[in-house]
Symmetry: C14
Subunit: 92 residues, 14 copies
């Protein structure tokens, strides 16, 4: 039974490690796109930099929230899966 | 039976971890595209920043809703699958 | 028989978790493209913002409907597959 | 025999869940492209918004029809496959 | 023999479900491209909207025909494969 | 022998279902590209709409012919493969 | 021996069905690109439509020839492979 | 021995069918690119249509030669592989 | 049991090594996009370089945070997985 | 031993058939890009058509040489591999 | 036990070798994008070369840091994994 | 031993055939890009055709050298691998 | 034990050979992008060629450093893995 | 033992053949991009052709160095792997 219990943790670490990486990849690109527009906007129209920065931060925060969702799921998989305790008990 | 019961949880954590990651990837890019347009718009026409920000927030919220769908499904897979209780009971 | 019954639920959670994620990815990008155009349009022509927002919402709603289709199928796979009851009975 | 009967339903839920997701992905992007053009068009030429919206709706409806085809096939696979009854009878 | 007969239906539902999905993906994008051009054209030149809409509909119909081909093949695979009757007889 | 005979039909339905789908995907995109150019051309130069529509139809017909090739091969695989009769006879 | 003989026909139908599909995909896109340029050219310069159509047809014919090569190979694989008769004889 | 001899022909038909398809895909796209430039060139400068068509034909012929190479290799694999006779003799 | 315990560490090092690499890939590209815009902005409007650099640093920091999330998960997988101690005890 | 000897020829025909196809794909695209530039150049500046054609032919010849390398390797694999004779002797 | 112990080192070298390569790929592209913008900026506005170079170096350093993260993880996997000593002891 | 000896030659012909094909693909595209620029340059500025052709040839030669590296490695794998003789001796 | 010891070296050469190749791919593209910008910049503004070349060299050096990291890891895998000696001892 | 010893050389030739091919692909594209810019630059500004050619050669040399790294690793794998002698001795 221990071998199978380990395979649960193997799946969990794989999903956690790759999941956060994929989310960081996509959300990183997204923040880069938003950042690019904000920086270009400030360069063209420095007077609007306050509004631009505010809007950028709102957007970056919403994108960050998506990565946080993935991070939360990853941490749940590592630390707080509801069956994790029962399965760990199988290790002996 | 326990080994097979574990394989159900393995599939669930894989689907949850990668599912939310894929959704965060796509919706993140989408929000980045929307954010880019909003920031560029404010830089060009700061007077319209109120309308732009409002429209952007509506759009970001709808994109966020898509990621939330995936998050909900992921959490259902981890915490609330209708057969999860019966399957966990097989662990012993 | 229980092992095979579990493999049905494994397939269902995999299809549900990845299906909604793929749909959220694509429809999110689509909504981002529509949002981008709407925000740029308002920045260029704020007087038309009413018409633009209305059209954008119609479009976002239709794209959302596509993601809802996938969500419905995912939820059917988890909660309402016609053979799910019979198969769950095999567990016990 | 029951194990094999289940593998039929496994294939059906996989094809249904991923099929509708792939179709929603592509048709969503397509509707996003159409929506983008409509919104840009209204921003440039608000007087033509009636014609633009009408044309957009015709196009979105045709794209929606493609996703509906996939949805119909997915639902047939879940609820109405001609051999599903005979195969389900093998379970019991 | 029944197990193998089922594997035929498994292949058929897989090909049907994914086939119509792939076709809907591609033809959807194609219709989106055509729709985009039509909507942009009407926005630029509303007087030509009659000719534009007519041409667009011809084009969308031809693209739709491609998706219909795939739908027809998918339905043949589900309902009307010439050997399906003989194979279904193996189940019983 | 029957099991192997079925695997022939399995391969045939897979190749038919995916083949027509791939061809519909590519040819659909191609027709969408051609349609886009035609619609844009009519919007810019409505006087040339007769010549444009004629040329477009020639092109769409040639692209359609490519999809027809794939459809013909798919139907041959389902209904008219030269060895299909001999193989179906193996089913018993 | 019959099982192996069938696996030859399985490979042949797979290669034929997917081969013509891949070729139709690529050549379709290619014809779409050529068609796009021709239609745009006629819209810009209707006087040159004769030369443009002639050149387009030469090009489309050459692209069509590539798809024909793949079609010919596909049909050879189905109907005229030099060893097909000997292998079919193994079916009994 | 016959089973293995067949696997040689299986590999040959797979390589031939997919090889010519891949080559047709790439060379088709290439000819489409060249055709596009030629047609656009004639539309802009009809006086140079002779030189343009000549150059286009040289280029298309060279691209066609690449597809011919793949076709020749495919036909060699089907009809003229140096060991094909010896291997066919193993079929009995 | 030791062999299985090792397979847990194998999964952990794989997820850690590839996870941080994928995150570094995506976030690197994202920072490159942001950096590009900042440098171009300074070249066009050197007076705004202060605001541009500040905004760029905020954005780069948020993108960096995404890579840090993945790094933290990777390090947790290597050094601090809650079951790692129990599993390592199986080695000895 | 004969079965293994055949697997050598299987690998050789696979590498030959796909290798020349991949090379034809890439070099075809490359020649298409070069051809496009040449045709566009002649359309813009017909007086330079001699120099342009000469340069284009040099370039196409160098690209062709790359495909020839792959063709030569493919033919070596089919007809002139140094161990082919020894391996063919194992067949019979 | 030694065989399994080796499989741990195999996974570690694979993750290290490919991980640093993937990170170098992405961060290299990112630095290339940033470098491109800096060089173009200096060419357009040589007076701002000081500010541009400073900003570029900050950005390149942050991108470099991401690659360093992956390098550190790779080196940890090779030289400093916390269980590496215990596992290496299994070899002897 | 002979079976394994053959598997060495199988790997060598696979690596040689696909390796030169991949290199020809990439270097072909690269030469196509360089050729495109040279031809466009001559069309715009025929007086500089000498310098342009010279530079193009230097560049094409360097790209060709990369393909030659791959060709050399492919030929080494076929004709001159240091252990090939010893391994071939195992055949007989 | 020797067979397993070899599998360690197999993994090491695979990771080394592909790792440096992937890194060279990405960093090469990156240097090409930077080089392109530098050369274009010098062509537009030859007076700034000193500053441009200096900046380009700094950037190329940083990109080169990333490839060097991968090269170092590859060489460590071949020549200096800490367990390589112990594992090589298993061969003899 | 000989079979396993051969599998080491199989991995080495695979890594060498594909590694140099992948590196040649990427570095070739990179040199093509650099070459394109240099040729375009000379066409626009022939007076700067000296500086342009010099810069291009520096860049091409650095890109070439990356391919050389991969070539060196490939040759080490074929001719100079530190354990190659010991492993070859296992062949007998």
């Amino acid at each position: 039974m221990e071998a199978t219990a380990l395979s649960f943790f193997i799946a969990a670490v794989t999903a956690a490690g790759f999941g956060i990486a994929i989310a960081a990849f996509g959300c990183g690109i997204a923040q880069g796109i938003g950042l690019k527009a904000a920086v270009e906007g400030i360069a063209r129209n420095p007077e609007a930099s306050g509004k631009i920065t505010t809007t950028m931060l709102i957007g970056l925060a919403m994108i960050e929230s998506l990565a946080i969702y993935a991070l939360v799921v990853a941490l749940i998989l590592i630390f707080a899966h509801p069956q994790a305790g029962a399965i760990a008990a199988l290790l002996g």
